[in-house]
Amino acid sequence: MKKRKAFIHPYIPNSVPEIKEKMLEEIGVKDIETLYEDIPEELRFKDEMKLPEPYLSEYALKKHVEQILSKNQTCQESLSFLGGDCWQHYIPAICDEINQRSEFLTAYAGEPYEDHGRFQALFEYASMIGDLLEMDVVNVPTYDWGQAASTSIRMAGRITGRSEILIADSISPDRLLIIRNYCSPVVKITLINYDKETGKINLEDLKSKISDKVIGIYFENPSYLGVIDDQGEIISDIVHKYGALCLVGIDPITLGILKPPSKYGADIVCGDIQSLGMHMQYGGGQAGFIATRDEERYVMEYPSRLFGITTTIVEGEHGFGDVTYDRTSFHDRIEGKEFIGTASALWGITAGVYLALAGPQGMQELGKVIVQKSQYAINKLSEIKGVSVLFSQSSHFKEFVLDFTDSGKTVETINKSLLEKGIFGGKNITREFSELDNCAVYCITEIHSKEDIDRLAQTLDECINGGGI
């Protein structure tokens, strides 16, 4: 081992040579190299790692990283209408305050005693999501919606003992990729068409594909294409007749005004909580939930941690702990359900803060203001020559598809022109859906003012028609 000059780093207290010497002496070896005696020569890395020179002072590091980040142009600096699995909503200050607390930020896997607060905060998160969904069981968050949907399908597969799932093809294409990989080769996926006029599920196609060999159906409501499907009850009735299950994916921020899927027959509900208090973070704020009724045959199929409330030896004291820990792969690496590991707990705690702040009225008012604004945007944008709103006979929450075919311009060209004016246009889905050539998903939330929407309309009109409306 090459000798390096003494290196005392603020993150490494025992890099002080005198302390090192003292500890080596206690251990009874003359150098650190001796401690690596079990790593044979042939496995040693003989070269030096080719890494850039470090920025040892914190100031230099700060300058360096900030200089790189300054190359980004954010949705705060620009006006963004991007949605599609990640959304720009307002983040209450207290959400950030809580998830930056040292205690929550740097805790991990302690016991229900010294980490009582972690257990309680996640129990409360599950409770509030449960009330939003009107379902009694909610997991400690998994990685994201894609994982939540994948696990929901695998759970349903174990519950029904079947191995084919029907999925509405209006699903997010990225999510479908995640599900395909997670299900292959154990569960077969069959797609159900959506109705090209309404954007809703094609019931005839569902009826032709459902059978008593099928696990059930998984669909999203509103869909990735922004359509609210009002056929939920009919869909669940159809699948239930075959002993199959109804699985629904949702964005929980819609549920202040939209009916939760449990009220139209859903057996398992999943989705992403990013909209509930997480910054977009370039896609880093996603976290998935899975919810079911409180039936043993459902609960025992969760791979996730489930935190429950219990009593302690002291009268009146709330305790918390793991419910049916033995189901997990932590307990049984062979027979445990799927697998469990570190996922997205801090975002769960944050979503709990968000829901506690919003309360019933806040969620309702928020839902209302979002649909009002998106309806206004749909009206306004559909007036532009060359732009049409797809599935306009159906209803939308915050997202809708704009079709630019009649404009004679591609989404790419239009988005480029918008970008020059400081606007991030909707997500280009041309390559995602072959039948939706030249289309984009636009997203309107509570952060968009009338002025923002008018500016979008005017700029789009200028890009396409070269003038004002």
Binding site: E48, I98, T106, E114, A121, F320, I334, I340, G352, M363
Partner: protein, 516 residues
Amino acid sequence: MTRESKVRNFHQAKWDEPVIYELSSKGERGILFPEIEKEIEAIVGDGISKLPSNMIRAQPPNLPELSQMQVLKHYLRMSQQTLGADLNVDIGQGTCTMKYSPKINEQFATAPKFTELHPSQDESTVQGILEIIYKLDLFLREISGLDKFTFQPGGGSQAIFAMVSIIYAHHEANGEAEQRDEIISTMFSHPSDAAAPNVKGYRVINIYPNEDGLPDVEALTEAVSERTAGLLITNPEDTGIFNPRIKEFTRIVHEAGGVCGYDQANANGVLGITRAKEADFDLCFFNLHKTFSSPHGCGGPASGALGVSKEFMKYLPVPLVEYDGSKYHLNYDIPKSIGKVRSFYGVVPAILKAYSWIMSLGKDGLREVSEIAVLNNNYLLKKILEIRGASAPYAKGRHRIEQVRYSWDELYKETGVTTEDVTCRMADFGFHMWSSHHPFIVPQPFTLEPTESYSKTELDEYISGLKKVVEEAYENPEIVKGAPHRSVVHKIDHDPLDDPSKWAITWRSYLKKSKK
């Protein structure tokens, strides 16, 4: 803390904090959202009546109602009732690498220049963050010796699942997916190394440790066959013993036609010392939330950085971040890709923090991290073995890498005090002490990993804590068995948590069941 006792007269915050629903007061508001402009309302009306009537929620959700300061206070109290690494000598959660997560990195990850980026923005507007992702890939190539990294997996277990998916794709491409239906792992590797292949339909063979605590080469030789799809193995395993014959493992599996995946969740002691490449692995992953300092967040968000050798690049999940000499871009054109394992590009804040952490240390710093982690661990080992009732099974007299799986078996036999009891009593002094994953191959296990972040004084304090508890176990075991006494709550009643008629995973469920 007096000079003589060396343990703190600690008491954790105990607010006796109610569940948030118990704090609800009708009509209170925690936050007000933007109001609708009158001009919009004049045009679209209330918005809701335009929705399908059977999709409108009948009753508002039964959420608690609290004012803002009351929500803040409730959550701050719960935070005080949680023992984070920033507050304790967090060396008791072995395998977890509870190192210091520098605050400057939190500043970067909470800056609007990063947080307000949407993942579908035009590439020209995200050159900064793409540069960071790409450069971290370059760094990890150096650290592992492999050829390309993806940061898509949202944790170590998801990275293991991605490795299994790549192994499957590889055999599928060779027309051998059906024939090769077995994955080999070891009992001291992470449970997910066995559980994740199961999800993919594999039969898993778990190799048990031999008397040296190492997975048995002979058992491996017997396990491999034309059915072998691959090997998933941690090294050092959770015992902290480095497997010097690891190259024989990869050779045997390769000769049988299998693919070798290195679980490098335990890499904190070997940065710049030994790499996946030298041990002939095809795939590996690191946990950015462990070795590379991103905080654990009560259990995520996390990141499993997955690396592959050239031959396996074609299976990586889409998109990959690439650089053409002037611009960074996202490459979706990977025809044999397994698809995706997580949405977008992974947990980008963890990527940013790991990048910054490496840039604060450089090559010498990373080696220093590992060397001090190993120094601290062997110092701790020496001191723990001096404690009555404690032992470190296997590899007697040998040094360990970054952690050790110890045993309280002797203590248990002599006093009836279990690992769980000691854990509960350690909480009374402000410490964590974790046992191990199941099954408990080491009886009455406990696992300590001191990392590079704690000073000698802190290590000594933790040791004093253990000594104190052991002293009590021999003199007055009831104190230990009745613990915790000075934590947030007292011994919980476990039975309702396993009883379907009593368990309550949400408050609404609790209300229903407690009424009965």
